[in-house]
Amino acid sequence: MPVTNVSHDLDALTLIIQAEFAAPVERIWGIYADARQLEKVWGPPTYPATFVDHELTPGAKCNYFMTSPEGEKFAGYWLITDVDEPGKTFSFDDGFCDLDFVPNPDMPVSKNVFTFTEVDGTTKATYHGTYASAEGLQQVLDMGVVEGASSAINQIDALIAA
């Protein structure tokens, strides 16, 4: 499994996941810098993501939607707050919006910091996500269920158990 460490902070509503990928850091960074690759990993296969706008530069708003098996669309955005390309780290706010990509102020926004470090040709990735409130986290999970993430989870669980 590429996931090497997970830590939950119940008080700070923070999830930190570390993973190792068998590829150089430029390759992993390239996934986030390229909308066509990013959409392959962001949504589960049953709810594919489509990035309509995407630029990995500070201040850019990357708009995307996910499509349900019934064809229903759910839209979200990343507001890129910081990019350090030489240091291979970037930060963004992840939120929900309507299908015209107007952010929905009633939905929570998570603050995320992704950092990638190369070690002997492999990449150590640290994903750091924080929610302002537990209500917000619950809402995101309600959306996660909408995304059909649970089915993907069960497949991964089966893999781990095998």
Binding site: P2, I17, A22, I31, A152, L159
Partner: protein, 117 residues
Amino acid sequence: MDNEANQQAEDAADAMFHALADRTRRDILRRVLTGEHSVSTLAASYDMSFAAVQKHVAVLERSGLLVKRRSGREQLASGDLEAVRSVRSMLLELEDIWRGRISRIDELIGMPVDPNT
């Protein structure tokens, strides 16, 4: 779930998160999860009035995270592990979404890069 049941679940979640949004209440909860404490013992642990601590205990009780019983003149409080686990389970659920993304990255880097994309 019908709308009414859904509304009740939402109300219960609101009460739980309101209860956990306070540092003192989280601290009280940590103590009572390790075992039963009398409200007066809890009150002695904080630099605030007995009434203030009692209020915090009441908020935790309404959220279902803490249960109280009476023993003689004492009120004894203990934490409800099941209710607490559901908060933990939310972070676990989020973790699962992330594990899905990470495993898709792993799959993607195993494939040759398409120069047309």
